[in-house]
Symmetry: C2
Subunit: 217 residues, 2 copies
DNA sequence: TTTTTGATACCGAACGACGGTATGTAAAAG
DNA sequence: CTTTTACATACCGTCGTTCGGTATCAAAAA
């Protein structure tokens, strides 16, 4: 294979292929050879030139996965015209209202049997997303009076754990009824913390999604 | 190595060694050869006679880990003289008051970098423990009036996810302050669901444990 | 303008370690 | 005495990773 003038394209290709295979077959059941076979002529040397290990590819893949949603979180976090509670509400609204043509639904990824990838996402959610995006919003909410809590850090973690992990259909696959139950319990929980982030519009949309997701399996 | 008249002892030995190594080095970084080297003369044939794969050993190890606490859960679940809410409270009390000489503290297990084992425990917690132990208690509570919820299944999952995973120092290592924060938020959450499972005695004990755990690291 | 040089992109054979299997053997069980 | 069980051991294919090498390119030197 000829040398590529734009090596980022090669990197990007490796990540595309790896992402797909990791989702389809799981990280551990995807071999380097599998990746090579889907690279269209590139070799083992190419991979190990751009990545120092298979694990390194996993990190890059998860980074790319999470950076999308992290960008949205960062955008909302940094908005000037909303108070803390409104920002939280907007986050849930946006994450649920996002169009269905997501990668999510084209590959129908299933972390149900993908320990390494799930682990990666869990760590990123709890160690990065919670403190960097949710926590600042809660702190703002405390300042502007829209959120009351004495334990902002733990609250941020709890919210992310439930919303991003527990309610994530990629991780725990739910029937529409289960998804509905989780959503209601989540809403109740948030209300218990004085956070009113749910409304009927959201609920309706969520039910549509649950049905759609089931169909795509 | 001579043939053992009581093969259960060999099985048990393999599990002991595997458990220790899985905890010390992580499942993926523990090779079959590592296990053999710690078996005191037994060979690969012995392992593959009693277990069909490395994965199979992992399953057996996690089963043994969780069966202990599951027994306690089952015992409380089946008690006759407590209502639902009292049983929930007893569960938290018992799990926190258990003596420190647990395996937990002798090996100081750390699932922080042990995806497969964490995954195993997560699945067992959500797919087995929640529906088989917590859910029946909640159902009883609904019947006897001590618990009110329209979504018992989701509530059971949420409780287990937070209590067994999020607050588990093996999985998320906390400073004493963080452990305290989590505990308080958890209590608040439970209160939001009308569940009064915390008191000062528990809180005090938890803080002691958090300090102890930190020391043992 | 041509040549040199050094960095970068990629190739592919080879390696050691791994999980798993096939076959053998001897002790226990029946 | 026969069958089953509890192991031992040699071996296999696959895996992730390494490494010596080549081709290509841009920029500096001639």
């Amino acid at each position: 294979m000829a040398r590529n003038k734009h090596p980022e394209e090669t990197v990007s290709l490796i990540l595309d292929v790896s992402y797909r295979l990791f989702m389809e077959k799981g990280y551990e059941r995807t071999s380097i050879q599998d990746i090579i076979d889907n690279l269209g002529g590139l070799s083992k040397g190419a991979i190990y030139h751009h990545f120092k290990s298979k694990e390194d590819i996993l990190v890059a893949v998860t980074d790319r996965m999470t950076s999308q949603s992290n960008n949205i979180l960062a955008y909302i976090r940094d908005q000037k015209d909303l108070n803390g509670q409104e920002k939280l509400k907007k986050i849930f609204k946006d994450s649920i209202m996002r169009p269905v043509q997501d990668e999510i639904f084209t590959v129908a990824p299933d972390l149900h049997d993908n320990p390494r990838l799930l682990f990666s996402i869990l760590r990123e959610t709890m160690d990065e997303a919670a403190p960097n995006y949710i926590l600042p919003i809660i702190m703002q909410g405390i300042g502007d009076g829209s959120i009351q809590t004495e334990h902002p850090k733990a609250l941020a973690e709890l919210i992310m754990l439930t919303a991003n992990i527990w309610m994530n259909p990629m991780i725990f696959d739910n029937t529409p009824e289960e998804a509905y139950e989780k959503f209601m319990i989540f809403g109740q929980m948030m209300k218990g913390f004085g956070l009113d982030v749910l409304d009927d519009e959201l609920l309706k949309r969520l039910q549509e999604l649950a049905v759609l997701y089931q169909k795509n399996k």
